[in-house]
């Protein structure tokens, strides 16, 4: 099959970007979308042009590095997969495919399709953990945890930190990301002692980083390659409210760790 990609080119954060068209010829429908970009890049290199920068690593949907908007959808047309798990058989011969980076104020563009998602790390630094010293843990079976709770924590923990939720949201909110991490830790008995501080700190950092407010449209969940449920957002809202009320009475320590 043959397709044309209309791809975003931008030298760096300071420069203006623009779309550029490139032909991708003689493709096999079982090729991955990124393998198609590999082919285009080999052609560009051989033609003495600058290849398209795009982020990728594991190419199996787990590292969260790949991050393309494909025809206006984060990670492309199929649901429950990342860009690297998108295959050319999802497109038609002759298609013009529009490829852009994830766009959000908190994710500045580095080059072409690559953006800076370090704001997610900052949110993690402020509370995405349980304060436990190495070597001081009790026996792993000392606290039984019901299978349902453990499974639900795992559902939340499946987040790959790719940022599709932010890219999908018209307000560029990071609520699904924050609620998944906070949700995982808050559900588990180990995470309970720091629950309030965690929620307040992570939300505050999210706001500072320039992410927008959640207006409950749940485009995030629909775009999530791991299909993380919007129910974690509702849960985070409840936890946030409870923690805020307590903090008025100074019952929440302002720092963790």
């Amino acid at each position: 099959m043959n397709v044309t990609i209309r791809v975003w080119r931008q030298k760096n954060d300071q420069s203006e970007g623009r779309f550029e068209d490139h032909e991708a010829k003689d493709l096999n429908p079982n090729m991955s979308f990124l393998e198609m970009l590999d082919v285009v890049n080999e052609d560009l290199t051989n033609a003495g042009k600058d290849p398209i920068a795009f982020a990728h690593d594991c190419r199996e949907g787990i590292c969260g590095t790949c991050s393309c908007m494909i025809n206006g959808k984060p990670h492309g047309p199929e649901s429950g997969v990342a860009t690297c798990q998108t295959y050319m058989r999802s497109f038609q011969d002759g298609d013009v495919i529009v490829v852009e980076p994830f766009r959000a104020k908190a994710f500045p563009i580095i080059k072409d399709l690559v953006c800076d998602r370090s704001a997610f790390d900052s949110i993690m630094h402020s509370g995405g953990f349980i304060s436990i010293r190495t070597g001081s843990a009790p026996d792993a079976n000392a606290i039984p945890i019901g299978k349902e709770v453990a499974d639900m924590a795992m559902d939340a923990a499946a987040c790959i930190g790719c940022g599709a939720c932010v890219a999908a949201c018209k307000n560029s909110s990071a609520m699904l990301f924050v609620s998944a991490k906070a949700g995982q830790l808050n559900l588990l008995p180990q995470g309970k002692p720091e629950k309030d501080a965690r929620v307040l700190n992570m939300v505050a950092t999210m706001d500072e980083a320039g992410f927008g407010n959640c207006t409950n449209q749940y485009e995030c969940s629909a775009a999530c390659p791991k299909e993380i449920s919007e129910e974690f957002i509702s849960k985070l809202n409840r936890d946030y409210l409870a923690a805020s009320v307590k903090s008025v009475f100074k019952a929440v320590p302002s720092t963790m760790g």
Binding site: N12, N30, M31, E35, D38, V39, E42, T45, G48, D50, P51, A53, D57, C58, R59, E60, G61, I62, C63, G64, T65, Q85, Y87, I110, K111, D116, R117, S118, F120, D121, M124, H125, S126, G128, F129, I130, S131, I132, T134, G135, S136, A137, P138, A140, N141, P144, G146, K147, A150, D151, A153, M154, A158, I160, G161, Q184, L185, Q190, M256, G257
Partner: protein, 638 residues
């Protein structure tokens, strides 16, 4: 060169405890004054950075990834071993130790492996406390599964995403330390050289991948936790960006490289489907708990699998290895698959594949149980092949998956360069000639949480209590010069061929001559061909773009440049090791039934290679392996 393993004296069971007690401590008030550089934020790096930061050292952690959470460890699927004996099935520290030694075909260092088995139990405690959502039983206790090479159920797992969950656990504790300011994180920073001052490792030179800035960083000690080098084969189950540069640069600065030829070819991966392919995908070994592996008995049998009657199927692992069956270790299972395909009994379009069949398990347990256990793996398989493995058996073939070789380290995980420590997959220490499933995650976390935090202080307490050298020191300027010269040369080379095309050609040479089966003639050919390819690379590689911006071609060019040298060393090592052991199978050395024939008399040693300058042959040194507690036997899984 004498490779002193520094194994503590005394009985195996108490060596580690004694070693901890004998070591010097750093005064708590002084810890902050010691700077430690950790390169890598996978399981081995993140766990070490978090723990050393927590202990009070000033830690700087580097990764070429944009976030520590994206290290290749994230992709591990199946699980992590620990001698908890929660299943009451007779497991113990000794049994895990013995299985690992035997699995490694008696080519690993006994004392290191025993320590690994000892601390394995602490790892699980630690991870659960961090909130790692391991699989649980209905009663609320932790669940286990079995992995290859073991007859007990000691593998802990989090669905098919164990590596992800363990790494996110380590990343969260690391995040806490970054927030507290004890660890300074340098993402998007690729180490391109090691800096030695008076023979000690004192720093690194990095390139910021987003801005191209070349930077100098100094410290009292440097840790490489930079992962394995399987991408020397181009196609592998590794993340595309995994590479050998950090280890290779250290080798060129004098660190010896041990057993480079020991590579693991994993039996259950999705077969190659086309020339455009960029990576191979693993189907976790855990599938072999319930899946049965077979090939048609008849040569060239092209019927769809469901039309091949039971009596015409060869469940070759069950036939050849009745006591371990489908759970035979990886090296053995991979060779058996290759054998079936070499006999013309392979399946799929290319004939390079065998079946992994769940029909019986689905009949016995029901589809929902299989879905619960392996659902995400079946989904991945569907995505890639467009086939439904609940209905037709999976097609699988071996692929490069792990490298047991790595920089040589002593019992303290220190290389032969003082102050240079190496952990995780980047070192050679614990898996001998073959790694058992679920023990790489165990080793990475053991090294980072429980070993390095004891052994680095021993080193720091012994060196003069001066500040780390200033980055204006001439050793830093000279090293930076080396980096800029090499980078400039790549950028201004003006050649015609792409970096990827060289990587592919190298990969083909390695797979053909240094893959699942090796022989003298093939290895000699590769030792001729690879240097020629290297020369052609430096003459004719085309690296577009500039050095002062994100330039992925430049990144890959540097890495492929190093792979071209490492590939040659791997072939030299494979040629020199005139025996078969674990993942290293020399066709000249096999029993009549095709099993690997070890030569304990002449090769019961670690081979560690020393760089002797470009154009000179490297020198092979040996560390003899002495077994106190176990008797070396022919490894049998029959």
């Amino acid at each position: 060169m004498i490779l002193d393993s520094k194994i503590p004296s005394g009985p195996l069971e108490t060596k580690w405890e004694k070693h901890i007690a004998d070591g010097k401590l750093v005064n708590p008030a002084n810890k902050r004054k010691y700077e430690v550089i950790i390169v890598g934020s996978g399981l081995a790096g993140a766990s070490a950075a978090a723990t050393l930061g927590e202990l009070g050292y000033s830690v700087k952690c580097f990764t070429f990834h944009d976030s520590p959470r994206r290290a290749h460890s994230i992709a591990a699927q199946g699980g992590i071993n620990a001698a908890k004996n929660y299943q009451n099935d007779g497991d113990s520290v000794y049994r895990l130790f013995y299985d690992t030694i035997k699995g490694g075909d008696f080519r690993s260092r006994e004392a290191n492996v025993y320590r690994l088995a000892q601390v394995s139990v602490n790892i699980i405690d630690q991870c659960v406390a961090q909130g790692v959502p391991f699989a649980r039983e209905y009663g609320g206790l932790l669940a286990n599964r079995s992995f290859g090479g073991a007859q007990v159920s000691r593998t802990f797992y989090a669905r098919g995403q164990t590596g992800q969950q363990l790494l996110l656990g380590a990343y969260s504790t690391l995040s806490r330390q970054i927030g507290l300011g004890t660890v300074k994180m340098f993402p998007n920073s690729e180490m391109l050289e090691l800096v030695l001052v008076d023979g000690h490792a004192k720093g690194i030179v990095t390139r910021n991948l987003n801005t191209g800035a070349i930077e100098r960083h100094s410290a009292h000690a440097v840790v490489l936790a930079t992962g394995g080098y399987g991408n020397v084969f181009n196609l592998s189950t590794y993340a595309r960006n995994s590479n050998c540069t950090a280890a290779w640069r250290a080798y060129r600065k004098g660190a010896t490289f041990a057993n480079p030829c020991y590579t693991q070819i994993h039996p259950t991966c999705i077969p190659v489907s086309g020339d455009y392919q960029s990576k191979l995908t693993l189907m976790s070994e855990s599938l072999r708990n319930d899946g049965r592996i077979w090939a048609p008995k008849k040569e060239g049998d092209r019927r769809p699998p469901n039309e091949i009657p039971e009596e015409e199927r060869d469940y070759y692992l069950e036939r050849k290895y009745p006591s371990f069956g489908n759970l035979a270790p990886r090296d053995i299972s991979s060779r058996a698959a290759k054998e079936a395909c070499d006999e013309g009994r392979g399946v799929g379009e290319t004939g390079l594949g065998v079946y992994l069949d769940f029909k019986d398990a689905i009949e016995r347990l029901g589809e929902s149980v299989i879905k619960e256990r392996y659902g995400n793996l079946f989904d991945i398989y569907k995505e890639i092949t467009n086939e439904n493995a609940y209905e037709v058996p999976m097609r699988i073939y071996p692929a490069v998956h792990y490298t047991m070789g790595g920089l040589w380290v002593d019992y303290n995980l220190m290389s032969n360069i003082p102050g240079l420590f190496v952990t995780g997959e980047a070192n050679f220490s614990d898996h001998g000639a073959n790694r058992l499933g679920a023990s790489a995650l165990m080793q990475g976390l053991a090294d980072g949480y429980f070993v390095l935090p004891y052994t680095i202080p021993h080193y720091l307490a012994e060196i003069p209590r001066d500040p780390a050298p200033p980055t204006s020191h001439e050793a830093f300027s000279e090293t930076e010069e080396e980096v800029t010269t090499r980078t400039q040369r790549l950028l201004t080379n003006g050649g015609k061929q792409t970096v990827k095309s060289f990587h592919k050609r190298l990969g083909n040479l390695m797979w053909d001559y240094c893959g699942m089966a090796r022989n003298k003639a093939g290895l000699e050919t590769a030792i001729q061909e690879i240097p020629k390819l290297k020369e052609e690379f430096w003459d004719d590689v085309n690296v577009p773009g500039e050095g002062s911006e994100l330039n992925q071609s430049l990144e890959l060019a540097g890495r492929v440049g190093d792979f071209l040298e490492l590939g040659e060393l791997m072939c030299r090592d494979a040629l020199a090791r005139e025996e078969s052991c674990g993942g290293h199978f020399r066709e000249e050395h096999q029993y009549e039934d095709g099993e690997a024939l070890r030569d304990d008399e002449n090769f019961s040693h670690v081979a560690a290679w020393e760089f002797k300058g470009d154009g000179n042959a490297p020198e092979r040194h040996i560390e003899n392996l002495e077994y106190e507690a176990v008797k070396m036997v022919t490894r049998s899984y029959k």
